[in-house]
């Protein structure tokens, strides 16, 4: 590990380095994506306070569970299809 002489002053680090760390470990509930109910509105991607909804070619993919804190905002905002949510929260360990 770097010592005080080698660290950039003021704890300034390169941008986007949170991507390199697992910060999803304290999650109590995990969001589960149910693809058949998904209309690809990407509300989950917009509302996610982290960057835990992966998107490729304009379509969402699986959650990034290394960074999802389980806040549940995506599940709440998800409009789903015909009254069926495309994201539901499931208790961890169950």
């Amino acid at each position: 590990m770097k010592g005080w002489k080698d660290l950039e002053i003021g704890a300034i680090t390169k941008a986007g380095s949170a991507d390199e760390y697992n910060t999803g470990s304290w999650r109590a509930f995990r969001p589960q994506w149910i693809e058949e109910n998904c209309i690809q509105c990407l509300f989950c991607w917009i509302y996610c306070p982290d960057s835990a909804v992966t998107v490729k070619d304009g379509k969402r993919g699986e959650f990034d569970y290394l960074h999802c804190k389980g806040c549940g905002i995506c599940a709440r905002e998800c409009p789903g299809k015909k009254g069926k949510k495309a994201i539901v929260m499931v208790e961890e360990g169950k």
Binding site: M1, K2, W4, L7, E8, I9, G10, A11, I12, S17
Partner: protein, 392 residues
């Protein structure tokens, strides 16, 4: 040469800010520093500076906006007093921890309660441990000179720390004194262009400010700040030497007044030091070897140099315009540390004076010097810590 004129301390500080022409000022008014930003706001309105002035809803917001502007890459200033500084408290640590060279005049005023608007050092001393450089000023000229020098000190590559420049509320901030302004171009050449470090507005080189730093790295960053503080002394002296060339006014880490052979010594900050000098002259005429040490740089504190300057003193009276209630005054603690860690064991007393702007008169200096004399003769200290001019 500069212009000689009669101005208040606040006016002098506002003039220095105009000449410094910072990129951003964020401020909230509070007595007795209000006039600084009021005058500066006029400079902004009249187009005499290029500064973006952000009028915020509190001092907490003022320092927060200063921190944001400093992170963006600007040269940033604000001004405050007393409760305003107290409200900034958590942000003061963030400014120093993020290593932003923000420069702030602090017009010293007592902290409530009871509410009081007059000058004492409880605000500045209360922020002693916030990681800011602290320069103290006896009068308006020193406040003006210190503010210009503070820019160079704070922004120096070996330092990169915020700095506050203190002067006594009302006694200095609102009194008109004769002093000298430097020409604008001289000040601008002296302070030079601001060189931001890792500015957020440099979008080609994005960085993260304010990451979570846990026990595995936190101490390393504090050790860095200590190192920067250790570098301050040399930078202060270098900047002072350069400043003397443009102004003819010399500065050091402190002022030693008739101290070389002094057996009795006083230690006093700011305006009260001026009062003491006159009284010391009278005692010197009577052949009594008394002198004064007036600290200029309080953080970092130059322990070794202060101890050397006080080395001839057998008895030292340390006067504090702030109290650590239940302890000694903050200056006493520093002088005591300076002497003992350098192996000296003078007899020392602590006098608390001037709280809430209580007048500090020549007779108070006489009282203290007479007591120092008595201690030198008898070796007895009646009260280690006492209050000057307080009614029973």
């Amino acid at each position: 040469m500069g212009k000689k004129l009669a101005v208040t301390g606040n006016q002098a500080v506002a003039e220095a800010m105009r000449q410094i022409n910072p990129d951003v000022c964020a401020a909230y008014p509070i007595t007795p520093s209000t006039e600084v930003m009021q005058r500066f706001a006029s400079f902004v309105a009249d187009g005499k500076v290029d500064t973006e002035l952000v009028t915020v809803e509190s001092e907490h917001s003022a320092m927060s906006a200063c921190i944001g502007a400093a992170a963006a890459g600007g040269r940033v200033m604000t001004a405050t007093s007393s409760q305003g500084l107290a409200l900034m408290w958590e942000m003061l640590h963030i400014a120093s921890g993020m290593r932003f060279p923000i420069v702030m005049p602090l017009v010293n005023r007592a902290l409530s309660a009871p509410i009081n608007i007059h000058g004492d050092h409880s605000d500045g001393m209360g922020s002693r441990d916030c990681g800011w450089i602290q320069l103290f000023s006896e009068n308006g000229q020193e406040a003006y000179d210190n503010l210009i020098q503070a820019i160079r000190i704070a922004e120096h590559d070996d330092v990169r720390l915020p700095a506050m420049v203190c002067m006594d509320g009302f006694i200095i901030s609102h009194s008109i004194e004769s002093m000298e302004y430097l020409p604008d171009d001289v000040v601008r050449n002296f302070i030079g262009e601001f060189r931001p470090k890792n500015p957020l507005l440099d979008i080609e080189n994005p960085v993260t400010y304010g990451p979570l730093v846990l026990p595995d790295f936190f101490m390393e960053f504090k050790r860095q700040q200590h190192e920067a503080m250790l570098n301050v002394k040399d930078v202060v002296l270098d900047v002072a030497r350069e400043f003397e060339k443009i102004s003819g006014r010399g500065y050091g880490l402190f002022e030693a007044y008739r101290l070389d052979d002094a057996e009795l010594a006083l230690v006093i900050l700011n305006s009260a030091a001026g009062t003491a000098k006159d009284v010391i002259d009278e005692y010197r005429e009577k052949g009594i070897k008394v002198g004064l040490l007036k600290p200029r740089l309080f953080r970092p504190f130059p322990y070794k140099e202060v101890a050397e300057a006080l080395s001839s003193a057998r008895v030292i009276g340390v006067l504090d315009r702030a109290d650590s209630l239940g302890g000694f005054g903050p200056m006493y603690m520093e002088i005591s540390s300076a002497m003992t860690t350098n192996g000296a064991k003078p007899l020392m007393i602590n006098k608390i004076y001037g709280l809430g702007g209580r007048d500090f008169m020549p007779e108070h200096v006489v009282q203290v010097i007479d007591e120092l004399k008595e201690i030198a003769e008898t070796g007895n200290i009646r009260l280690q810590k006492d209050f000057l001019g307080v009614r029973e």
